[in-house]
Amino acid sequence: MDLLVLALLLGITGLLAGFVGSLTGLGGAVVALPVLVIGFGVPFPEAAGAGLLTILATSSTTGAAYVRDHLSDLRIGMFLEIATVPGALVGATATVFLVHAQLADALLVALGIILIGLVPGAILRGRTPTPTTPAAQDRWSTELGLTGSYYDEARRERFHYAAAQTRPALGVMFCAGVVSGMFGIGGGVFKVLALERFLRLPMKIATATSNFMIGVTGAAGASVLLLAGFINPVIGAPVALGTAVGALGGSRLLPMLRNRTVRWLFVPVVLVLGAEVILRGLGVG
């Protein structure tokens, strides 16, 4: 294989990963990363680096539309970044130390476990009913004014929302940051779960706010991995570009899908990829 073929294949991988990632709500990196490891033989550090580039590209590409439509809640997002950014710094630093301690294979096994673990997370989120009245605010939420409203196009109604349970949410957000900094994936799934389950935000606001947040968290993790020499742009750039385009396509198609269960067709793909990554980490794959 030569460089031209490599760049094209990486771009196509990103395109498909972005598409599947946005349809399932798992994120493009979740599909792209295992393919890089298994299909292209990319070592774990560079795969994680490519994952973070993918997150940055996707967050900025799809984020512009959300900000324009005022769906992304900057106050809530910024408040929670207090927890995710330190998490990402801790996670990325841990990855650098573990790789230098020759424990990259153990990280691969952990990556596979996280891939499989994200699936129930993504399925769970569809089950959370969208609140129609604002949730009861706690002290921090009241003092910081973590409330807002949005116009729901489908129901032709303006909905008001308020952030609840900010303290446990900060804890989950820290963990989401650690995972995203360590592996370059999954931060979005945990963030959306925390935004919906703890803060009790409507799905649309949670999705848009998480999309803004993964970019900031990704920047924190990426700056550490970049300086550690873990980001190889020859691999990461084609994947990230492809994923951003694929994610845009997927997000356009999603509202048109009548039967949302179509999305779960891709779940076995993620499970198989996760299992393959674990086997690779154990040295049997």
Partner: protein
């Protein structure tokens, strides 16, 4: 705010696409395996090395700049948010946003160089 995102994104994407195309045009038949196993980026992480590479028209230097732009976009957005909050007299939200910005710089200027 959306404009910050879009400009940063377009600059980053243009740099990355252009540099990848230039790299492939320069060495289309070079072995893929060597590009996977060896990372050109660490050679351009210093400001002087990066400037020299950019001046010499090295695709790898522009690729590195593209990665910087991709990372910088959300950081600029946080900075823009901090200015907005402070301007509207929202002291608490302003303080929170400035803290987030400071933490991002801790990653880039303290944690990153330490693990290098």
């Amino acid at each position: 705010m959306a404009a910050v995102l879009r400009v940063g994104l377009y600059v980053a994407l243009a740099l990355l696409v252009g540099a990848i195309v230039a790299l492939v045009a320069r060495e289309p038949a070079s072995a893929a395996a060597s590009w996977i196993s060896s990372n050109p980026l660490p050679n351009y992480l210093g400001l002087r090395a990066l400037a020299k590479g950019l001046a010499a028209g090295r695709a790898e230097a522009y690729l590195t700049l593209g990665v910087f732009a991709l990372i910088a976009t959300p950081v600029v957005r946080v900075a823009a948010g901090a200015i907005t909050f402070v301007r509207h007299g929202e002291r608490r939200m302003g303080a929170i946003t400035i803290t987030v910005l400071a933490l991002l710089f801790v990653g880039l200027l303290v944690v990153g160089p330490l693990v290098r």
